[in-house]
Every structure is written in C-alpha cells, then in structure tokens.
Symmetry: C2
Subunit: 329 residues, 2 copies
C-alpha cells in the first residue's frame, strides 16, 4: 500500500503533514510519497526517525492557493503538488492521496486527471457532520451547487457504501434534507430525488428537517452542494456564535467567572465536540481513486487518521463496490 501525501496548502505548514505520514508508516506499515516543497520536506525528515525505504519525496515548483480558480489552476499549474499527485495516482503509482489544499482544485484534479467512476455523473464532497449522537455523513457538502435528482441518488448510493464499509454502520439510513417531513414538501429537486430514493433499494427513511439535523438520527444526509454547504457552514457558525455568547456571559462578573471556572472541562468538551474537523478527512466520492480532503488546520493526528481512511477505502474496495452498485441501475 502506497499513499500520496500532498504537503502543500496546510495552515500549519508541511511539518504536520510529514509527521502524520511518518506516524502512519509506523502504525499501518505502508509506504508514502511526500509531494511539495522538497527542501522543507527533507528538513523535517532529517529530524525524524523513519524507515527510509518507505518514503519517497517529490519536489514540485508550483502552488495552488485557496484563492485559485479550481479548474483553471489544475490546468495551468502542471507542477503543483496535487496535480502531480493526481497524475501518479491515475498512472497506478499509488493507492490514494490526502491533501489539505484547495477543495475545488482537488476535486477538479480528481475529475479531470483521474476521472470519475463509470456511472457517476458528478463526484461529491462527503463530510462527517457532528451531531448530538455521533455523526452523520453529509453529501454533497459543496461540490455541485446545481445538481439533478439522479446525481443526488448517486450521492446516496456512494454515501451508503462508504458508511457501511468504512464507518462500519450496517444498513445505514439515508435522509433527504428538506423543509418538512411529508413527501409533498420541498422544491422540485428534492421532490424528484424523493421519488428516486423511494423506489430504490437504500435504507431511505424519507425527508429530514433542518431542525432535526443536529440530533443525528440519520446516518447519511443527502442534498445538493449548495444546501449541503449552507448546512455545514451554518452549523459551524452557530456553534462558534453560541460559544462566544456563553463566554461573554461568563466573564461578566466575579460570580459568573468563578462558576464558569468550575465548568471548564465541560465547556471544553462541548467546544471540542462541535469541531467537525476532528472527525477525519472528507472523502471525495465518485473519483476512480481514493481521495481524501483533510481540513487546512489538520494536525499530524488528523493527517494520520485521514491516511487510515485511504487505507480502508482501498482495502475494502469501495470504488469497485460503487461501480457494481451503479451497474445494477
């Protein structure tokens, strides 16, 4: 097993990515290809203990930033780390890639350099969405802002396979994000999707209202990328705002400060819980090779966890399973 680690694009610099990769080598007995700024990678490697036979370094000269246009940048920056990585993947020289870089560019690299799984019209960004009772898999979280019902059905199929085989949730439930639970509710897109999912073979439990999303009663949350992104970002924004308001209230006077001091652990637990980034990387489902997008602020542990996702992704043959499932249609 050989995994590509794109060391560019992290808020924390490449060291955390290199460290996460080396930890993954030790824990999962894999090989890695580190792509990016060669000098920085080597500097970190020199200071580390690792099996030299298991690490390959590829230096690249160009950088795709978060402000770059996804499709244009992967076409014009042929020597950017994620472009080089996608090419290696597509040539079969590795089994998967993790990147903390520009999500849209990673998706474009996957789509145009590696290609989609036959039968899949669009790849989707799948995010683990934290809830009161654990997490749901939300897709699409932002790749396809104008989608069709058959695409949403494909997202539901991919999400179900991923949740069942990587997250080991048997017969995972699928819910369609909507403005009411009744079949008649929603816009044209969700009504059409409802019909497809209702006829299909997934464990579709119907519409789920936005109000109920934080309860975590459904394993897979399906929506187009516009609504999915709004849901994800608003959840984050609400968590941040409420924590800030709590903080403001708790530093009001000596009484509140003292009392809040006694609740420090509990408040920290709540804050950590609401940080969806800790739940690992976001698989880009629908691409012919395993691709995981890790958050820009991922530390080495998050990177190692993301690499584990790639290993499972490959070992459990997710891509073949998706392809077979779609052949049935």
């Amino acid at each position: 097993m050989k995994v590509i680690v794109d060391t560019m694009g992290s808020d924390k610099g490449s060291d955390e990515l290199v460290k996460g990769a080396l930890n993954a080598i030790e824990e999962y007995d894999i090989e890695v290809i580190l792509i990016g700024n060669e000098e920085k990678i080597n500097k970190k490697l020199e200071k580390s203990n690792y099996d030299i036979k298991k690490v390959e370094v590829i230096g690249t000269s160009q950088v795709i930033t978060n402000d770059d246009d996804p499709v244009r940048s992967i076409r014009s920056k042929k020597d950017a780390s994620m472009v080089v990585g996608a090419r290696l993947l597509s040539e079969g020289k590795a089994d998967g890639m993790i990147s903390t870089g520009n999500t849209g560019a990673l998706l474009a690299a996957g789509t145009f350099i590696i290609g989609r799984i036959p039968g899949i019209d669009r790849a989707a960004i799948s995010v683990l969405y934290p809830t009161k009772s654990g997490f749901s898999l939300l897709l699409d979280a932002g790749a396809n802002v104008d989608a069709r019902a058959d695409m949403l059905e494909q997202f539901a199929i991919m999400g179900s396979i991923y949740m069942e085989n990587i997250m080991e949730k048997s017969s995972p439930t699928v819910g369609l994000i909507n403005i009411g639970v009744e079949e008649s509710k929603g816009n044209k897109l969700v009504k059409d999707t409802y019909e497809l999912l209702h006829k299909g073979e997934l464990n579709f439990i119907g519409n789920i209202e936005a109000r109920d999303l934080p309860k975590g009663e459904v394993d897979i949350l399906v929506s187009d990328g516009f609504v999915g992104n709004i849901v994800l970002k608003l959840t984050e924004g609400m968590a941040i705002s409420i924590m800030e308001m709590l903080k403001e209230k708790f530093i009001k006077n000596t009484r509140t400060k003292l009392a809040a001091g006694f609740l420090k652990t509990e408040l920290r637990e709540l804050k950590e819980f609401m940080d969806y980034r800790q739940y690992g990387g976001a698989p880009l489902l629908g691409i012919k090779k395993p691709l995981v997008k890790a958050h820009g602020s991922s530390d080495s542990l998050a990177v190692k966890n993301g690499i584990k996702q790639l290993i499972d992704f490959k070992n459990r043959d997710i891509i073949n399973m998706i392809e077979k499932e779609l052949e049935k249609k």
Copy 2:
C-alpha cells in the same frame, strides 16, 4: 384603525389571542374584529374589562389545521376564520390581520382572496432572525421553494422598505445567502440574483456566507424559500441541541450542578435570546393588505406586539411604498 385577530390555530387556545387584542385596544386605541369560535371568544370577553364599542365578534364554523393543504383548504373551507378574515380585509372592512394558524394557508388566503401588490410575482414570509448583534430580516423563509432571480430581487426590495420603515433602520444592508463571498460563487439562482442586486439601488453588500449569519452583520438576508427555511430551522435546531448538551453536561455531578446554578440567569438569557419567536410576528410581504403570521405558541404579549406591527404597517403606508418602488423598475 381596525385589526382582525384570527383566534384559531394557536397552541395556547384563543384566550391568549383575545387577551392580546384587548390589550392592544387599550394601548393603541384601535378597534378589533375577533374571528373564530364565538362561544370561546365570548366566554373570555365576559371575564374581561374592555370597551364594547371597539370589539366585534364573528363566529366561524370551520377550522384549517396545520396538516391541511394550504390552497385546497382555503378553497374548500369558506367559513374558516382566516378565510373569512381575508375576505373582510379584501372588502376594506379592516386594515390588517394577525393569525397564528397554518402559514401556507394564510399565504394562500392572502394571495388568492386579497391578491398581490402590483409588480410582485410572489409573496414572501419574512422572519426576524436572531443574531449576536440583534436581528436580521430573513426572506423568503419558506413560501417559495422554487424561485427566480427577479423574485429574490423583489424580496430584497420589500425587505428593505420594511426594515427601514417598520424597524427604523436607515439604509438597511442587503446580503445574499451564499456559499462564499465572491461574486462568482453559488448556484445559478444566486449568481443571477447577485447581478440584479448589484445593478439595483438597494444597499446591497454582496454575498454572505452561512457561517456568518449568526453574527448579524447584515440587515436583510435574501434567499429562496427552500434555503431560507433550512437556515431558519437549522439555527433553531442548533440552538436547541447545544442548550440540551449544555444541560446534560451541567447535571453531571454536584460540582457542575452547583456551578451551573450560579449561572442560571446567564443561561436563561442565552436561551431566551435564541428563541426567535419572541421577536414578533412574521409579515407576509407582497400581499395587498397587511398580514402578520404570529407563532403558534405566541402569548398575549406577542399577539399585542404583532398587532402593533400591523398598525405600523398600515400607518407607514408600506404597501404603497412597495408598489411605488416596483413601478420604477
């Protein structure tokens, strides 16, 4: 000034509506028409002190429930309170109506019995959305799940007029709910709307990301009814879930219980703040007469506040202003 109070459809029964109406008579020197279950209304009136010349009671025999199909129910239940009320309004026998009943049915009654303001293609549900710094006016909050860019522009115009004249916010800012701040972001609908708003004369400040909605940096939040409803309901769901999680953490042991006891006031303040229902009724903008939808659980104070909204709506000539603004286009 004469205001219609639909006394049906409240979670709290008609008494709170009657009480709110009588308080409004006293405070604002208006007349009211109470429509609904005549027996119940009279029973409450008998126990109250009020100026008998200022109250008219109209008994109705049919009831529209929250499960009824909006359009079908207003057509088949001609003697339901909100249908009778809409007819009176349309005949000019009153100046506005408040209802706690089925939102869709109220909108349908407004649209088909009273009619839309010339130039308005669809009426919108406008909700006061609570934020860290006060509130924003969110529209459409659920009436138009499949909308066009020109409708969203009309929502922005109506919202600006309402916010400026009823909420007394001079030159209110308009933001388009989107998945990024850049002009190029979003689905086709929001990109087309961006173009219209950018060319227009409102105080349009561009896209606003869902993550930033709780900060309250924009006065008017524009979206289609699907996204608006998702935003509203998810905000509510997150607030509820976080408060529940806090509660669970705070009753864990004696230490946490004691500390939380000292923070009771602050926690209650936070909870109250997040209850968007307290911010008054939701005006249905775009109908030729003032209509306010109050929450089903409104108490007499909320009802009185909703009646005040209707009075301002009428006195400040909002409907004429909207019509004039649209004539310019």
